[in-house]
Symmetry: C2
Subunit: 251 residues, 2 copies
Amino acid sequence: MTTTDQITTNQTIDTLNNRVSIRDYTDEPLDDATLTLLLNAARRTPTSSNVQTYSFVVVRDPERKKTLAHLAGDQKHIEQAPVFVAVCADLNRVARGMALHGQTLATNTETTLISVIDAAIAGQSLALAAESLGLGTVMIGGMRNHPDQVAELLGLPEGVFVVYGLCIGHVAERTPQKPRLPDETVIHYETYQPASEEALHAYDAALAEHYRSVGRSTPDAAWTGFNARRLGTAPRPHMREFLEKHGFSLD
Amino acid sequence: MTTTDQITTNQTIDTLNNRVSIRDYTDEPLDDATLTLLLNAARRTPTSSNVQTYSFVVVRDPERKKTLAHLAGDQKHIEQAPVFVAVCADLNRVARGMALHGQTLATNTETTLISVIDAAIAGQSLALAAESLGLGTVMIGGMRNHPDQVAELLGLPEGVFVVYGLCIGHVAERTPQKPRLPDETVIHYETYQPASEEALHAYDAALAEHYRSVGRSTPDAAWTGFNARRLGTAPRPHMREFLEKHGFSLD
């Protein structure tokens, strides 16, 4: 631990503070011992009532990564990274255990939430463990673009779907950090305080300045305008039907 | 970094490997500088397309914590911990930003997933940051027991709900780690391999042995039987209606 300005920090906190998503990897492989170390560490993530409703599918086969890269909307870093982990919500295993006692898992919106949260947090532990070793990661929500084809490629049974993917590899190029929304719009004390127009405009300006500094074109209203153009239409409209077809109830 | 058995580990990985959920806290407060350090670090967690659809509501008021403890099913550690963070999915802020441009956020199952995942992973970063300083944490899914009353107590507007809570404080008593499911049932290579009956029985035995070692009564089939008795009835059946009433579509 080191102390700066009366605040004690450490390697974990520094890893978080310095992180950026990496979309450019070297061709250096990730050795098995390191991968096992990371996976084991992630398995200590808390899980709802010890139900452990998640799975990791580790993909290293170049052809399979290439297909996944394409299914995610041609994200070349999936192909480039030596390891891709499909972070899955998994109700299959607990249902199998229950079947040993003649019981059937009852599913609803809450069991879907439990498994999605279990998976999401385990995946974040895996990402942070990798980053703490100096490796790069990026989460791939694009696994939900074509969830049916992804499920087929990974041989996922009923009750398992890929919540997101995670590329892990050695960093070729690191991009500068984006500023985040102003603290007062995200961190609330005792009760929620809705974001003010001023704070949202301030973030638009900060994000525009960031884009200029990295030589990217700056859209009008870099955050609010970008979202206004993008989120007026609901994304991935197939997800409800996909989930219900694959054993995740939304009742 | 230290090297053991040819495997390089570090403080982040050790923090994960050694963690247990803490349900017994001392009365020592958590100072503001440390809390701010943790919250800032968690804010660097990745977020879907920089949409940042989560919020933290920090609760330190004893009366409010007492009410939350009761609503979670009388979990006294919520009252006992100096800090309780309600980790929220938040579609309200992005919708406000879009409204500045005359646009309305379209919601569906996918936007619900995006916000739940954004929140879940940011909360896990916050937990891990706290644990890396030697603090204890426990996640509280029981925030979804009475989500309406929790939302009212925290003043949550349309489009915000508590995905889970997080107690943070100084550890009074640490319990031994539970064994996790056998690796081969959770970690898959290239394609998914369904859990074998043998592996599930082996875990039942390992968990029963753990319970015996800590002097707790051991149910028959410590994992599969426990879940069979518990999950034949769908949990928290109010969640769908609650979400749809609060701006989270499941269409």
